[in-house]
Symmetry: C2
Subunit: 408 residues, 2 copies
């Protein structure tokens, strides 16, 4: 069974909006065992829409063009395509009216259009908005039309479309595991695992998904009745663990800041930070996790030398002798952070994020990190990249990894 995704909208064709809908849909379908054959983006043009309704077999999943404005012509095309007429869908009209009544506004004739549907369509109620989803068995294909607003589309995909597809078509059974790796570059990782990868059977796919400072390695395979995909992936993960050891920090979407936070919470320990070059990004990562106030007590953004000296009591001679970016400075910062906030652990970071500020001795991308538990101080100097944003991200993730190795 072939699935074609069609996104409709001029804004997707002039670079105004990245088509994340198609990516999201493809991933969700893949996870339940359906593969997408083609993804298409076309303009708000009847001719183009008709061409695709005619030319594609299997399941044609359309997003966009269902709204109440003049650009929104998907419904008219569906009606023409199946030679049906538009009829009022009473439950949708009630739903639309109730939305406008709550706002104290008259829905008007234009919004009544939202409740008009092709007479041969099955209607998917849209609790998140006014435009319902539509399902039509066409001449030679199954047509599903959803609104383009991401949270409405996602709601309808999960509540209606995926259950429908699972009922009407037989999905392949997919097994998938993702391994999160830190401290190894993508190319180095590929070399390290080349032998391991070569020994995997043909039906197991390996994908390398690099992010700044982290590489995600995804193993997947459709159950085929020939070999035991589940067991193969399990064994492959065990072997991978022998090769990569501590470099593996998580699995299947777990984020570093979550893993470290969970461990601190489990142990009932607390954390504070002193950030220079990361400028608040480490704190932001930690506090992006709900409930982080249980273990994260606060931090100091010591962006200037004065702040380091006045607020974190770094001795001026340390900065003078070793520099603001030095093992000595981050150790002093980590010590002050822990003591001033009475936390169990602290992290301190100082570096040259760039693009300016580099020297021959300490080029852009030089970053020093210290982690401290009140007794043991661990500190490291790294050389990251020339890109400011990448350096900030890598320094923060790497510092969390050092804390992970200390607390685990």
């Amino acid at each position: 069974m072939e699935i074609v995704l069609i996104s409709i909208g001029n804004e997707l064709l002039n670079g105004t909006v990245v088509n994340t809908n198609a990516t999201w849909i493809a991933q969700k379908l893949y996870e339940v065992g359906f593969t997408v054959k083609r993804v298409l983006t076309i303009s708000d043009s009847k001719e183009d829409i008709h061409r695709e309704l005619e030319n594609n077999e299997g399941v044609v999943l359309i997003t966009g063009g269902l709204g109440p404005t003049n650009d929104d012509i998907t419904k008219a095309c569906l009606m023409e395509h199946t030679s049906s007429s538009l009829i009022l869908h009473e439950p949708t009209w009630q739903h639309v009216r109730s939305i406008f009544e709550r706002r104290g506004v008259d829905p008007g004739e234009r919004n009544k259009q939202q409740a008009m549907v092709p007479s041969d369509a099955i209607v998917f109620p849209n609790e998140m908005g006014t435009a319902p989803g539509l399902y039509i068995k066409g001449k030679k294909n199954h047509i599903i039309a959803l609104p383009g607003v991401p949270f409405e589309m996602k709601h309808l995909m999960q509540k209606e479309v995926i259950p429908l597809l699972l009922k009407e078509f037989k999905p392949l059974e997919l097994k998938m595991e993702t391994v999160h790796i830190i401290g190894v570059s993508e190319s180095h990782l590929q070399e390290q695992v080349a032998h391991w990868e070569a020994q995997l059977p043909d039906n197991i796919q390996v994908a390398f998904l690099p992010e700044p400072g982290v590489v995600k390695l995804r193993l997947s395979g459709f159950v085929n009745g020939v070999n035991d995909v589940d067991q193969i992936i399990k064994d492959a993960l065990d072997e991978l663990h022998l090769i990569l050891g501590d470099s593996i920090f998580g699995y299947n979407g777990e984020q570093m800041e979550e893993i470290v936070g969970e461990e601190l919470k489990r142990q009932g320990k607390t954390l504070s930070v002193a950030e220079s070059c990361t400028g608040g990004y480490l704190s932001h990562l930690l506090t992006s996790i709900p409930g982080s106030s249980e273990y994260f007590k606060g931090g100091f953004i010591a962006y200037s030398n004065e702040f380091k000296i006045d607020k974190l009591e770094v001795e001026p001679y340390i900065i003078e002798k070793y520099g603001a970016v030095s093992i000595e400075t981050v150790e002093a910062m980590a010590k002050a952070s822990l003591e001033k906030t009475n936390t169990d652990y602290s992290i301190a970071i100082s570096g040259i994020a760039g693009p300016d500020g580099g020297t021959q001795e300490k080029p852009v991308g030089t970053v020093c990190i210290a982690v401290f538990d009140g007794n043991e101080m661990k500190s490291y100097q790294y050389q990251f990249s020339s890109n400011r944003i990448v350096n900030i991200r890598r320094a923060a993730i790497m510092s969390l990894n050092l804390l992970r190795l200390m607390v685990q």
Copy 2:
């Protein structure tokens, strides 16, 4: 002249990778006056690639499938499509060899394949990698093939493809201005400008591009010889300014943190912050701008009440009486931040980011912000959304806007 973008790669069809190449290319083409008719993503399949080479007229711009592995079959398809043969392109082979020699590695037969090109192709040298770009005048279309690696593709687009298209085809001349608006929701903005929008001539397009806390309104039009697009857009912007006033904070990609930073730098003033619910995100925004150390001196992530009391000397009775999320608390935080760091301005934020911690009186999304210049204290209470990440982002951007209004 029609342009069709075709991205090749299984990883784009199973949701592993978001197709940002197509969006980037569409935007660059739009900016120089070319519009894209369709965007297609297909698998690494000869059949599918051939189908698209046959069925599309105009310019067919392909990315991906040019690498040295077995999945990479674009070149073979091009050769078959034009019934040409593969020949060794000597300058590319020299380039590939020099890359491998620098690494001290033998390129081997596989990488020699990178220098084999269809005999009827014009070769675009790829300084950033081993796979060159290719340009072939096909039977009924112009085929351009580029590597899928984003920075290689971008390099070839800017250096070779756009100049070629500008030489071979007549682009439309585009005029475009983007206005950045804060403090107005998208739907409210649409109502406010509905009358203004209705009076624009048909060849002027208005796009609303919402982000958390900010809406970008883009005005664009192709020069048509009928009316003066430049002047129309200029006049429309003037009128928009009368309608929206201070809500407009920038134009054409300027970011809030840049605008505020530039103004502080111009005035030689300094800033510190005290963040609670934004947990470092405000500091991160400020320090993501190169050179921000000139005006941003540092900050306090006062995530716990103890930190607010011990480090920022917020009186315990204030927190007890008014709450940690209150005008009184953020005013005390702003005062302490400014005094402790000797800066000209300070910002303080405290709120309930969610998902937990809300009460009937102060539900999730309640955020208090104070900005202080040593004399004048301005403070506000907001009600944002139920989403933690959105609340963090909106609070930080809104606080910068308050500072902007104070410093300007």
